[in-house]
């Protein structure tokens, strides 16, 4: 369905953004493996990014609702 396709597309976009942001933040000099501290940093970075996504999403929805009620 269109709905599912959109959901998949947005999940892919989110994963791409997460990889970009957390790789840049956590891997300074790429070595022959991901060190355990790099792995830990990536995990925490991606968890926090997902939490941030949820907070932003709720705040944005709240604002839209408030604007609609004003009109």
């Amino acid at each position: 369905t269109v709905q599912q396709q959109l959901a998949i597309q947005h999940a892919q976009e989110l994963l791409q953004k997460l990889s970009d942001k957390c790789f840049k933040a956590c891997v300074q000099k790429p070595g022959s493996t991901l060190s355990s501290s790099e792995q830990k940093c990536i995990s925490q970075c991606s968890d926090r990014y997902m939490e941030a996504w949820n907070v932003v999403s709720r705040s944005y929805a709240d604002r839209i609702k408030r604007e609609q009620n004003r009109h």
């Binding site: 942001k21 996504w53 932003v56």
Partner: protein
């Protein structure tokens, strides 16, 4: 049903418009998260959850970004109307 009559079907038009709006909203949430993550979580160290302070910062960041957009849009409309 031909392509032409499909395109003018009001039910379909409404469905497409709703999907497009959802799409725009999700794109904007991606965009805002990207900006506000950098503004609010830079010095986050290795905490395992968002702190209360970071959460408030994210909420304020969304609100102030939208205020900023409104300010700029109004200003631009004004300039155009004044023909500057």
């Amino acid at each position: 049903m031909s392509l032409g009559s499909l395109a003018s079907d009001p039910e379909l038009q409404k469905f497409v418009a709703t999907k497009e709006l959802e799409n725009q909203i999700t794109a904007q949430v991606h965009h805002l998260t990207n900006i506000c993550f950098d503004k609010c979580l830079e010095s986050s160290g290795s905490a395992s959850d968002l702190s209360a302070r970071q959460t408030v910062c994210l909420q304020n960041c969304v609100e102030r970004f939208l205020d900023c957009s409104v300010l700029i849009t109004n200003r631009t409309v004004q300039r155009i109307q004044q023909g500057r």
